[in-house]
């Protein structure tokens, strides 16, 4: 079971978490991650723009969620990721995992985030008073993937 949403509209992370949890009496453990647009200490952020690759995005997220379901005992997976224009403090995305075991719920959410970050086709651009810049990928994000690469 999984639900993947790629949308421009904002969403209510609390309402989504409640809906995700509802009726899960066979799952004791729910982990959620939410990503929020951070303001920049140097130059105040006017807004963030997120570009994505329609079609491939849903495909990549589904593959990542399917792999998580193969690796861990999960009852449900939720991924919501926005694109378009966002202000500081706005919700960018969330993932949630439900499992009978807390270790599985944690590991799967951590895995989903690592893969989503470097393998789902989203690109962030930060717009400040000084201009705009595409956010660079970090070496540590590629390294984070290596942790999951062998059994």
């Amino acid at each position: 079971m999984m639900r993947i949403l790629v949308q421009e509209a904002s969403f209510d992370v609390g309402a989504e978490l409640n809906a995700f949890q509802a009726g899960k009496t066979d799952m004791g453990a729910i982990v959620s991650f939410s990503g929020i647009v951070r303001d920049l200490p140097e130059a105040p952020l006017r807004h963030m723009l997120i570009e994505h690759y329609p079609g491939m995005t849903e495909r990549a997220l589904t593959k990542i969620a399917e792999e998580a379901c193969e690796r861990w005992s999960l009852g449900d997976v939720l991924v919501i990721h926005r694109y378009g224009q966002m202000a500081p403090g706005d919700q960018i995305m969330m993932v949630a995992t439900a499992s009978p075991h807390r270790k599985d719920a944690f590991a799967a959410a951590d895995f989903l985030m690592d893969y989503l970050k470097s393998r789902a086709p989203f690109w962030k651009k930060e717009v400040t008073a000084d201009g705009s810049d595409w956010v660079s990928a970090k070496d540590e994000d590629e390294e984070a993937l290596r942790r999951w690469k062998q059994g």
């Binding site: 079609g55 491939m56 995305m93 985030m113 470097s118 086709p121 690109w123």
Partner: protein, 83 residues
């Protein structure tokens, strides 16, 4: 063959269009890159550092050695920064 070629993020900005249809006989992604780079400076500039680029063929992430025979769309973009 006819191929949809798509560009995202700063690759799109350098090339100047988000997508275009090209007529090509390129066998691999690398061949296609060479073909496009030979066309105009904006392509040569966008493709000048392949280490800074990623490529997807028919919406699957792959590498520059990948075959594009029979492919419908090829996309070029920088490393992803979602999440």
């Amino acid at each position: 063959m006819k191929l949809d070629v798509m560009y995202f993020a700063w690759v799109r900005e350098r090339i100047g269009v988000p997508r275009e249809t090209v007529e090509t006989e390129a066998a691999t992604v690398a061949d296609l890159v060479r073909e496009l780079s030979a066309r105009e400076d904006r392509y040569e500039l966008a493709f000048s550092d392949l280490d800074a680029l990623r490529v997807a063929v028919d919406q699957d992430l792959t590498d520059f050695d990948a075959s594009i025979s029979g492919a419908r769309e090829v996309a070029f973009f920088p490393p992803m920064t979602g999440g």
